[in-house]
Every structure is written in C-alpha cells, then in structure tokens.
C-alpha cells in the first residue's frame, strides 16, 4: 500500500516544498516511483522588475556595475543580469527569509553567534537602496547614486564598505556585505536564475557549467578544457529558434 505524497508544482513553493508542505506517507512493498522529475527548476525570464521599484532598479543596476565593472572582454554586472538575478531572488523565498529561524527574542550577540537581525533580505535591500540614494543626495550635490560618475560611485561604495558612510534606517555595512554575496552569485550562478547572461561569468573563468561527465578528462593533466559552457537551459546555439 502506498499513499503517495502530493507533489508541489507551484512555481513559488518548490524551495520550501520538500519540508513542511508535503504530506506524510507510508511507504512499503517497493520503492515509491513517480515519473518525471520531482521538483524541476524554475526559469527566470527577462522582463519587468518583480521586486524593485523603478528608482531602486536604476540604483541597483548602477551598483552591480561597480561591484563587477564591465571590461573590454567581459560585460559588467548590469549587462550580465546581476540586478535581474537579485530582483528575482528578493521576490522569492530568499527575499522573505523563508526557512530561516525567525522566532524571538532578537538579541544582538557576538560575531561568532551569527546574524540575529529580524530584517529579511527584501527589507534590507529596500532600506539599503533608499539609504544609498539619500546619502548620495545629501553629500554629493543632490545627485542619486546612478547619476554620479563611475569614480564617484566607487568612492561612495568604498565609504559604505569601510563604515564611513552611514544610512539612517539600516546598517550600511551589512547592506554592502549582502551585495558582495548576492552580486557575484548573480554573475556565477546558472543563467536560469536570471544572471550570468549568456554564461558570461563562466566564460570569463573557463568554467564549463553542467557538462557533467569528465571521465575522459580526469587523466588529462595541465591541459585546458576546450569545450564551451553549458547551462541547465542548454546553450543558445543548440536552440537557435529560442532566444
């Protein structure tokens, strides 16, 4: 007798789906089997912002392009889709802090005890981006971050990083630490998540993505792996009819 658990197909629920939202079942007699993948990935498409407001989007695109600036060989964070990646992440379970322990009391502890803030990543970005523009306008002639020159932008970010620049509503350094985690994730994660567009991050370093089988290569030492990267979505030149 097998009572199969119900499978979650909802796009937003896959992340938490395997824990609290599935039903208990009794399994015996043989291995439970259902055809098709259990929790296939979601594909983030280009398109309108899902989390950021228009102003926030202008700011975050400017920020990601300074964290990872464009150079003659490799696009920067903006063209690579890092802002889109963060937008989709903040809209989803990461943004709401889903799955984290969120019962109080919230007490500031030692660094070794880990983060104790009740702020979700979504709230951190909302307050952090507002704080950044407010700081720039107050100290740099009324200009928002995106309106500054690249050098001015770098200068502001260095002040945020060092703790010299403070925001009113949120810990500016904490916000910057989140950026330093999230922006490279957007540059190097699989393109299905909205960043690393055309696998530019992977091409830059020579990471082949999900090539999967290197049995022919394990004994080929000190030789550059020649094949271009492959994403979970394949490669554009495999499916030219799709963008």
């Amino acid at each position: 007798m097998i009572h199969r658990r119900k499978f979650l197909l909802s796009a937003t629920l896959w992340f938490v789906g395997t824990s609290s939202l599935t039903h208990a079942s009794v399994i015996n007699g043989h291995m439970p089997w259902s055809p098709f993948p259990m929790s296939p990935p979601e594909f983030e498409r280009p398109g309108p912002w899902q989390f950021f407001t228009a102003d926030e989007a202008v700011a975050i695109e400017a920020v990601v392009d300074r964290i990872i600036p464009p150079d003659p060989e490799t696009p920067g964070g903006k063209e690579a889709g890092c802002a889109v990646f963060i937008d989709r992440q903040l809209k989803g379970p990461y943004g709401s802090g889903a799955g984290l322990y969120n019962l109080g009391p919230f007490i500031k502890g030692t660094k070794q005890q880990g983060p104790q803030s009740p702020l979700t990543p979504a709230e951190l970005y909302r307050k952090g981006l507002a704080g950044l523009d407010k700081y720039c306008k107050a100290s740099l002639g009324g200009k928002a971050f995106a309106q500054l020159s690249s050098d001015q932008q770098d200068d502001v970010l260095k002040k945020v990083e060092s703790g010299q620049a403070k925001f009113e509503e949120v810990d500016a350094q904490g916000f910057f630490d989140a950026l330093l985690k999230d922006v490279p994730e957007g540059f190097f994660s699989d393109p299905i998540h909205g960043g690393n567009r055309n696998m530019v991050g992977w091409s830059m370093i020579g990471f082949p993505g999900i090539r999967y089988d290197y049995r022919d290569w394990v004994h080929r030492h000190n030789e550059r792996y020649p094949h271009p990267p492959v994403s979970i979505a394949g490669r554009a030149d495999w499916t030219p009819h799709k963008s």
């Binding site: 658990r5 992340f15 395997t18 824990s19 609290s20 599935t22 039903h23 208990a24 079942s25 009794v26 015996n28 007699g29 043989h30 291995m31 089997w33 098709f36 993948p37 259990m38 990935p41 300074r66 964290i67 990872i68 600036p69 150079d71 490799t74 990461y94 984290l100 322990y101 969120n102 009391p105 007490i107 502890g109 030692t110 070794q112 005890q113 880990g114 104790q116 970010l157 330093l180 994660s189 699989d190 299905i192 998540h193 991050g201 992977w202 370093i205 990471f207 999900i210 090539r211 089988d213 290197y214 290569w217 394990v218 004994h219 030492h221 000190n222 030789e223 550059r224 792996y225 979970i232």
Partner: protein, 592 residues
C-alpha cells in the same frame, strides 16, 4: 490526542545511514520494523536528475536538501557565562533532512579510525603520562576496539563499493596505501578513483618530501559495482557537484543506492516520511521504552508502540530527544555529573589556499568528486611523537578539492579588493591556477568539560519544545594541533611549486557562521562506565535496555577523520549485538 498505531517489534527514528542499516538488519532477522523520518522520501533518479541537479545556487548556496532552521535549530554560545542565541541560518555545519539523511549529500569520504583512537585515554596516558593531557580534557576509551569493529567497517565498505587502496592488509604494509591504517581483512572492493592534475601533483610533492601519500577512500566509485544486496552502482563521472548535492548517476554510495531498494522489498518493513518523532515514551519504571510519539506534516499526532526503539537521527537531535524524553541524567558541567550532553565535539578544520603561475598551471578544478584527492596520514592521531609538540591529536591533510563551482571556489590572493575591477581581474587570472582544498587539514577535536549540549532556557522549536543549546569553544590543545598541521600542509603546496601559499589557521573563538564540516559528535557517548557514558559498548542505553542510540553522538571524542565509516561500522556492530545477544535475552547486555 495521539492516535495509537498497531504495535511493531522495532521503531526506528530517522532513516539515514544508520537507520537504514539497522532497519535492514532487524527486518532481515524477521522483526516487524517501522522507520519514522522527519523529512521527505527521496529518490535517486527523480530527485537529482543530472539535467538540473548541478545548480550551485539552489543546492549549495540555498541549501535545498538540508533541514530548514525554521523546522528546528540550535542555540549557540562559546562560554557558559554567555547567553546562547539561535542559529538562524546554517553556517559551521549543515544538519540533514529526509530519507537517506546526510548519506544523500555527503562527500562519501569513507575512512576508518586508527586502532589507538578507540583506546585513546589509555593509549595517550601510557605513552606520555597522565600529566601530558590538559586537566579539563575529558577524552575516554570507547569500550569497543578496532579489531572488534574491523568486520563491520568491512561490511560497510563492501555495501558501498568503496574505492581505495589498502595500506595494511592483515598486517602486511602495501605500497600506495595508507601505511598507518589498522589491518584490514580485505582490499577495498574497487580500486581508487582517478586523480586530476592538482591532486596528483600533491601526491608527487608529498612523496618527494618523504611522506607516504595515498588516494582518499571514496564512496564515489571508480567503476561499476554490484553490492552484496544486489544493488548496482555506476562509475563516478567527476562532475564536481557532489557534496551538498544528490547524485542522480547512482555513483555515490547512499542509503538509496545501496540499501533501501532491498529493504523495501521486505514485507515486514515500512517507512513513514514527513513525520517527526516528538518523544520516546518510557513506562513508569523509567527502564523500558514503550514506543514513540510523532507528528506528521498535516499536524496529526500518532503513537507508535514498539518493543525495541532505535534512535538514529542526526547527532545532536539524538541528544535533544534523550533530554526531551528525560532518558538518562543530563550532564552538568559544574558538578561534572550526568551523561546526556557530555563530551560534545566537532572537528578542527583549516585550509591552505595556494596560487600558482597561470602561465604554467591549468588545474581544471571543476573536474572532481566529493571524495577525490591524495592525503597523508603521518600527522593523524598518535602516528607521530607528540612529546616535543605539547599537544595531542591530529588529522589527515590532503589536496581533497572537490570542485571549481565558481560562487564557492573563486580564490583571489590576499590584498585583492573584495569587489571592482581588481577583484574581477584577480578572479579571472587565478581560477584555473589556484588551489583551495576546502577541508585540507582535517583535525581531531577532543572533548572538554565545558563543551556540551543541554536544553535552551529561552528559545523553542515550532512545537514549543526547547532547542538544544550548544556550548562550544576551541581549546589551546586543538589550536596548537591546527597550527602544526597547517604548517606541514603548507610546505607540501610550496613543494608543488606554488608562488604564494596562504595559511588559514583555525583560530578561537569557535565561530558558528564558518563552515567546517557537519561532523558533530558526542553528547550520547558510549563507554564502559554508566557514570561517564550514556551507552554501553553495544550502543545500548544504560538506563533503558530496549533503546539503542546510533550515530556519531556515541563518539567519546572526535578523531582526525570523516566519521561516516565509523558511524556505519558501529551501526553494524550494534545490529549484530541485537541479533545475536539482545533478541535471545532482551535486557541489559552489560551489567555495570
């Protein structure tokens, strides 16, 4: 009100490696067995298809396969006079969840502990004198010896098809293997995995320095293998998405690939998933377990009566469930009495990141498996004279780099800015020519009077039960050990031709945000004296005779190896004791 289910002979709490082993052994003995697992059922082919499982963000960064802290977590503090705070997102270790447990997403590094590790206090006292050990160090002998466990290590390795090179076959030392290992009765079931460039280079440099390097024993298989239960595994493809991920290729030994299909064919076995045990129930005498109470994800509460209870959850959940069920006397570090929560340990891990000339070295770091690499064991356990060094313990060191996944593994030289043009340039320049073993120095952590687990006075889980509270810090002995090992490890990378070698020593205080390993050990330890151990040498609870507690929670202290081989050997050892001794005469197997 809990609904009562028909009684079973055996109830198993947690269906990971040890739960699967015990379920199979006891169902094989003809008993009616039910296993209750907190997380979901997981299936090799459909839960980890190679077409999408290689997703670093989803599985490595967002922890898809692990327990969610909102389900339950722990509180943590370094010292007894601090207020412990909850671990809100995982860091230093990653508790598993679901059928297969940690066996799904482990590296599959399959080690045996040294013979001297099992008689540690006796051995060190005899060699160095009792005064050599720090006063507050509470290490103990295990009550079981390597020779007794050898057949059970062997069974686990042949269950998994472990790939490796024997170094000591029935006392005969064999070139190319680990000459320090205890004698093994048979060679590994499959030959070692192939070794990529950096791992090979490490072995060569170590050999030239006079060490005896050997391939790390791997549960990612070098070739196809059929195990004694008839399960078939395929050769590993070195895909570089192993630990933190499930293997859809049937190449990594897991309960799913080695036991569960055979177990589920037995009509006297059933499993319940998405069901969390809330308590082990004990009768009025306090000496006999009557079964367990569990709650499923729909919120239904059930009582499962059973004659025999096997507690086989993750280490610290074993300890927590004993405390919540009021089985055994809780440990009190002040009076140094009680046993449950005592001798809690983790691991002392550090790393060395090294940078080579990009014009001369192309490592292709993405070609790897979870248990790949070359290691040396000269500085493990008591394989060297500790007299001149003023510490005890040690670990293996090795180039055991498992991946080139770029979010996790894009090392840049010290002094590089954390972002911007210079950072981007350094990432690009060094990706192919930098090495970051990850857990290159795999040091022991010995036990101390003020490192323990109890119940938190403030923070609760989603059922309102107290969270387990960890009080843990590094002691001088481990810090000295780590500095010694890290320096030895760094010398080998220099000999490989690195232009820059960065030593990342493990420093106190213990930091719960920095990943080390998931090798939490102790808290419900085995031993020979009921006043200093929760379990006897057969993993049987000293107080409740029909309760056996599996897992690394039984380790009196942690050795300088990955624990799974020893965890599984102990499970087979306990299963044999139940089958050959306990079932004939249910009661305490040892009269203390």
């Amino acid at each position: 009100m809990a609904r009562k289910l028909p009684a079973k002979d055996v109830v198993i709490i947690g269906l990971g490696w040890t739960g699967s082993i015990l379920a199979h052994e006891l169902a094989d003995a003809g008993l009616e067995v039910v296993a209750i697992e907190r997380g979901p059922w997981r299936n090799t082919a459909t839960d980890y298809p190679p077409g999408y499982v290689a997703d670093e963000l989803r599985y490595r960064i967002r922890h898809e396969l692990f327990l969610r802290p909102e389900q339950t977590t722990f509180t943590f503090r370094n010292k007894m006079d601090q207020t412990a705070l909850p671990i809100r997102s995982w860091g230093a270790f990653m508790p598993p969840n679901g059928v297969g447990g940690g066996g799904v997403h482990w590296n599959a590094e399959t080690w045996r502990f040294l013979p001297s590790d099992f008689v540690l206090r006796t051995h060190l006292t005899q060699r160095y004198g009792a005064g050599f050990l720090p006063q507050d160090m509470t290490i103990q002998d295990w009550g079981v010896t390597y020779d007794e466990l050898e057949p059970h290590y062997d069974r686990f390795e042949y269950l998994c098809g472990t790939s490796g090179q024997a170094g000591n076959l029935k006392g005969q030392i064999i070139d190319g293997g680990n000459p320090f290992e205890g004698p093994r009765s048979r060679p590994y079931p499959t030959p070692p995995q192939g070794q990529p460039f950096s791992h090979t280079l490490f072995g060569k440099a170590a050999h030239e320095l006079g060490y005896k390097p050997f391939p790390q024993p791997s549960g990612n298989l070098s070739r196809a293998y059929k195990n004694p239960l008839g399960m078939r595994l395929g050769p590993c493809t070195y895909c570089g998405f192993c630990e933190w991920f499930g293997c859809g290729n049937y190449s990594k030994a897991s309960p799913q690939t080695t036991i569960l299909p055979a177990l589920l064919r037995k009509p006297n076995f059933s499993a319940r998933d998405n069901s969390e045990v809330k308590s082990i129930n004990v009768d009025g005498s306090g000496k006999r377990a009557t079964g367990v109470t569990f709650v499923d994800t729909d919120g239904n509460e059930w009582e499962q009566p059973a004659d025999l209870v096997i507690l086989s959850a993750f280490t610290i959940f074993n300890v927590q469930l004993l405390l919540l069920s009021k089985i055994g006397k809780p440990y009190d570090p002040v009076s140094n009495t009680g046993v449950v929560g005592r001798n809690f340990t983790h691991q002392t891990i550090s790393d060395v990141t090294s940078f080579f000339d990009p014009a001369k070295f192309i490592f292709n770091p993405f070609i790897a498996s979870g248990a790949i690499g070359m290691c040396i064991d000269e500085f493990n356990g008591d394989n060297f004279d500790h007299g001149p060094h003023g510490f005890v313990g040690g670990g293996y060191v090795g180039q055991v780099q498992t991946n080139g996944r770029p979010i996790e593994t894009a090392p840049v030289p010290p002094g590089t800015p954390r972002w911007g043009v210079e950072w981007k340039k350094a990432v690009k320049e060094n990706y192919q020519s930098a090495l970051k073993p990850g857990t290159g120095v795999h040091g022991s952590m010995y036990s101390y009077r003020d490192v323990y687990v109890d119940l938190d006075p403030t923070y609760k889980d989603r059922f309102g039960r107290p969270l387990a509270r960890i009080t843990m810090d590094f002691h001088d002995n481990e810090i000295k050990q780590n500095a010694f090992l890290t320096d030895k490890f760094a010398e080998i990378f220099k000999a490989m031709g690195a232009k820059q070698v960065v030593r990342e020593y493990r420093k106190p205080p213990y930091d719960v945000t920095k990943y080390q390993t998931t090798h939490l050990c102790g808290g419900a330890i085995m031993g020979t004296d009921p006043s200093t151990s929760a379990l006897n040498r057969y993993l049987q609870n000293w107080d409740v005779a029909n309760l056996f507690v599996m897992g690394a929670s039984a380790f009196p202290q942690n050795a300088g190896y990955n624990p799974t081989g020893t965890v599984a050997a102990l499970a087979f050892w306990a299963a044999e004791a139940i089958r050959t001794k306990y079932l004939k005469n249910p009661g305490q197997l040892i009269n203390a």
